[in-house]
Symmetry: C2
Subunit: 464 residues, 2 copies
């Protein structure tokens, strides 16, 4: 990796910290060991670095972020943007140490334009707080990642969530971004029209680039109209294949689903082990979670059509609820799923989270294969699938100190990557195997152009 | 402009043509003057170059495009990719001469995957032919630009169309692209999963880049499910403001509209002057064109709600039709609008087409202002607006040989650009005024990286 040339040169690093302290004030810079540990390590992360940042800086404006970048470039110090620490993929770790730029103080809603259906926010804004703040306007920001996530991280990772099926991912909501480049240059990707194709699409280049091309310090985001009629249903199936077949049939029939999620029997079991959902215990079978929205009659029609399709594919249950309380209850099983896995695992065990996408028709196959392989190896594992998009996550529980288990884990992961690529799919952490060196070369050339010293979040995006 | 350093060096240019002829065969290369004129000039274009290509090459494969690019790079000859010649913005003109790469022979559907809801196509495929070919599967490609447009041009311009409101633009349908870079390198942007965030978003970087970063030689495209229930309505209003207010109210209420288009009184008049729509004459007032799709009951509910909103805003008519024949008839007025303007203009007059996007709430203002200014100057003009997105086109008729009219035209255009930017909007051909030199500098750095000699479609995207 190109970032390897960055050694930890303590003298330059501490000079940079001194200069930032001088520029931003004492209180903006922390070198408290607990603070460094909190910013460099996470229990939730599937990968953790051994290094820690040497300082955490909390800027309050685009100008301050620019000042930090100028100083870090001068001393060749890595910069790691830090959002809400919700990533399970270690996006905020500091494998090359350097300075962690925590954007938590930049948490203002700058401008809300209900008539234009957009909002201008700082990166530290929490999406649920934003939606709460603007709800009386009848508008909302659709992407729904983990509840504590902030806008900056959501842009950096092009986050999705259960609403992605109906509403798309974060990139579909970016109108413009204010970005600080590695050398401190500030750019605004475009003005505030909802639709435009003028010039190169910098919004989509920065969105999902994990802070490796620039640091987002402000964003204008499109908003959508809150649906007035909603309903939620769950359906339990005898097998992943049956559930996936029902899901594919619904998608192919054009049913206007807002969300379509699959959880396997192990995932449902972990919910029961955590005490169920407000006391409700679940069938421990592959289960589809469905959400409908639209006009009152279309919600009713869609739910009926969905029920018929689920029954055709052998669903043993179809629970359909329409009151806010019942909907929240049913859906909270899906929203709380990740926490149930964390709660269910042995204290000394770690979780490897994966992110795989394949063409829709291959999804049931690869899930079944991945589960069979892990089960064969005796590894506890469970699956959540965004079935409408052909994207799923398998969580694998392992003990990092056990070499035998580590070998089995590696076999599971390697097989999954190999199969995903054979199916023309992708595994988000294995870019090179998927795309090959020529395409990766183009991505690296773009990185070279915007961040010639590879100082921005080094060690991310490129996996070698 | 950086491309200015490219002089027309006849010796090198003709050597390049000879080598391409040697590589691809005699029949792939044309220097017929009519062919060069056809490829370098268009009546429909709002801008035309004085130069023409010195040769038109018709490759049949990615490998042949790569061979052409290698030769053109060797001799530093500009390459202009050419699709279906439907652009009204001169995307295919050759202001620096060079070689025109016409992709019309690459018109095969390579692979149709109905279960995965995607299709792999070459750039010369016509979108209407594609949709006809696959219609029995119940799937379609939603973007609906001019009927003769081809996939390559649709990707290069990130085209939209009347379906954009419901279905988004071309970038939302790109799963992967095979791209030939300036030096002949071939890359594939990613594999075939519908959803992924792995690595940088090269799909969105190449989509809309007008062939200035690479030549698309193959694309995998997402497909959507054909709606089973559709209806169409038109509503005439007393003013642009009233029509726009009705449109905004519909959008803000969350009505699931598939299309929402505005045509002004001048546009409606030009339809009547062309004989109306299959004999039907129209009220010469600002008119909204609406399309609904969904379940049977939601289409009905939505149309009723739309009618109520239009009436509230003073609509004098609301025609709602549901049979395929009636829908085609009503909608054909919208689809044929551009041809009516061409038919209505004096033979020696040209048309300046514009492409403006502003925040939704400012749309009525800027349209009224633009119309008032043109009318004040005595210039025939008309407006089509994609009201749901805040994007509109004003067409201005002028005589290029009349200096007085040219000055008035310039005043109209300059004022429109100035006002759009004041409203935080964009005019697609005036990038620098909108974004400023720093952001443009980043775009140019990306161009430098991928096409260091600025050989790919020079003179496009950057307007200075």
């Amino acid at each position: 990796m190109k970032a390897n040339h960055i050694g930890k040169r303590s003298n330059e690093y501490s000079q940079a910290v001194d200069e930032i302290r001088h520029e931003l004030g004492e209180e903006a810079v922390s070198t408290d060991p607990d603070d460094l540990e909190y910013h460099g390590f996470s229990d939730f992360s599937s990968t953790n670095a051994t290094e820690r940042p040497i300082a955490v800086v909390r800027p309050e404006s685009t100008e301050q972020v620019s000042a930090i970048a100028k100083i870090c470039t001068k001393y060749r110090v890595p910069m790691t943007p830090f959002g809400a620490r919700t990533s399970v993929e270690g996006n905020f770790s500091s494998p090359f140490s350097g300075i962690c730029i925590d954007l938590c103080e930049m948490d203002k809603i700058i401008q809300f334009n209900p008539q234009d259906m957009d909002v201008v926010v700082q990166p530290g804004v929490n999406w649920m707080a934003l939606n709460e703040e603007i709800k009386d306007s009848g508008l909302f920001l659709p992407p729904d990642p983990g509840p504590t996530a902030s806008i900056g991280g959501m842009v950096a990772t092009n986050c999705s969530g259960t609403n992605a099926m109906r509403y798309g991912t974060m990139k579909d909501y970016v109108v413009n971004l204010t970005v600080v480049l590695a050398d401190g240059t500030v750019i605004k990707t475009r003005q505030r029209p909802r639709k435009t194709s003028a010039g190169y699409n910098l919004n989509s280049l920065f969105t999902g680039s994990e802070g490796t091309l620039g640091i987002v310090t402000q964003a204008t985001l499109k908003l959508a109209v809150l649906p007035t009629n909603l309903s939620v249903a769950t359906a339990a199936f005898g097998s992943i294949h049956a559930a996936a077949a029902a899901a594919t049939t619904m998608v192919r029939s054009g049913l206007p689903l807002t969300a379509l999620e699959l959880m396997d029997e192990a995932q449902m079991k972990s919910i029961n082990e955590a005490g169920g959902t407000a006391g409700r215990m679940w069938a421990e079978s592959p289960t589809l979670f469905l959400k409908f929205s639209g006009t009152k009659s279309s919600v009713k029609d869609s739910a009926q059509a969905a029920q018929a399709i689920c029954r055709q594919h052998g669903a043993s249950t179809f629970d359909h609820v329409t009151t806010p309380k019942e909907m929240d209850l049913l859906w909270s099983a899906r929203k709380g799923a990740v926490l149930c896995i964390v709660a269910a695992k042995p204290k000394d065990a770690w979780i490897l989270g994966t992110d795989v996408a394949v063409p829709i028709s291959r999804m049931a196959d690869i899930i079944e294969e991945s589960k069979a392989k892990a089960t064969h190896h005796g590894l506890t594992n469970c699956v959540i699938g965004h079935v409408g998009d052909g994207n799923y996550h398998q969580a694998l529980i392992y003990h990092p100190g056990d070499p035998d288990e580590m070998a089995k884990l590696k076999d599971c992961h390697d097989t999954m990557v190999k199969r995903a690529i054979e199916m023309e799919g992708t595994v988000s952490e294995c870019l090179i195997k998927e795309l090959g060196p020529t395409t990766i070369g183009v991505m690296k050339a773009l990185k070279d152009t915007l961040d010639p010293h590879w100082l921005l979040n080094p060690g991310k995006v490129f996996d070698e």
